[in-house]
Symmetry: C2
């Protein structure tokens, strides 16, 4: 498996071990991981720290020129908020673990010029399938449903 | 002036006094302010805490039913990320101080069913006009340009 997707899955598992929602993300620039994160709704009582947002926040401040060389990895299809962060910063490429348990606005993000690739990873799907079955109310809160 | 927009402007001014980017936001549910915030790029080295995100984060966790009774106020037109947060949580109404110094994806947000009202407030415009003139590099970083 892609080492960067593997790192995002590690983040998802760490989130699960903390009692949180198992979604992980890493930001890669010039072939190096510059930030990593996982969903912090439970751990920090956070409404904005989805995995991708936690990853971007942990990565810190970058210029537009740096973001334009970046790839964002997420174990799950980015929601409207996280997709919006990708668009804000002009991140050109997104690698998605799976989009069967949840799908964000992938068509819209692509229409704005972003290269979105869904790899349909079994482990990503299993993590979310099990989590949603066990914690449906928490999951619905996380996606505004 | 609308007391809630006035509160968002207070937040923007607080951000400026802290050496930050003067954009403020409040979240109102059932006629009460339940969260307030301002841009924290400078103060926290944050790439995700735009005013609206800081406001949502400070407000804490809400159910979809609660967000669906909410109005988000921002002194400036919400960017792709902050607009995405509005869409994620199904916030039905956004009141924008101004959209002349920066304009987010208002047409798209409206096409997704959100009521977006721009009030074209002079004080909001002056705050951003002066800030952008004095700190163009910082401002460009904040909007990914």
């Amino acid at each position: 498996m892609d080492e960067f997707l593997a790192a995002a899955i590690e983040e998802a598992k760490q989130g699960l071990a903390e009692g949180g929602i198992p979604i992980g993300s890493v930001l890669v620039i010039d072939g190096k991981i510059v930030g990593r994160g996982h969903n912090k709704r439970v751990q920090k009582g956070s409404s904005v720290l989805h995995a991708e947002m936690d990853c971007l926040e942990n990565a810190g401040r970058f210029s537009a020129a740096e973001y334009q060389r970046a790839t964002l990895y997420s174990t799950l299809s980015p929601c409207d908020m996280c997709s919006g962060a990708v668009l804000l910063y002009g991140i050109p490429k997104v690698i998605v673990g799976e989009n069967t348990t949840f799908q964000g606005p992938e068509a819209y993000v692509k229409s704005r010029g972003v290269d979105v690739t869904v790899v349909d990873n079994t482990e990503c799907k299993q993590l979310m399938h099990d989590f949603i079955a066990n914690h449906p109310t928490l999951w619905n809160e996380d996606i505004g449903e």
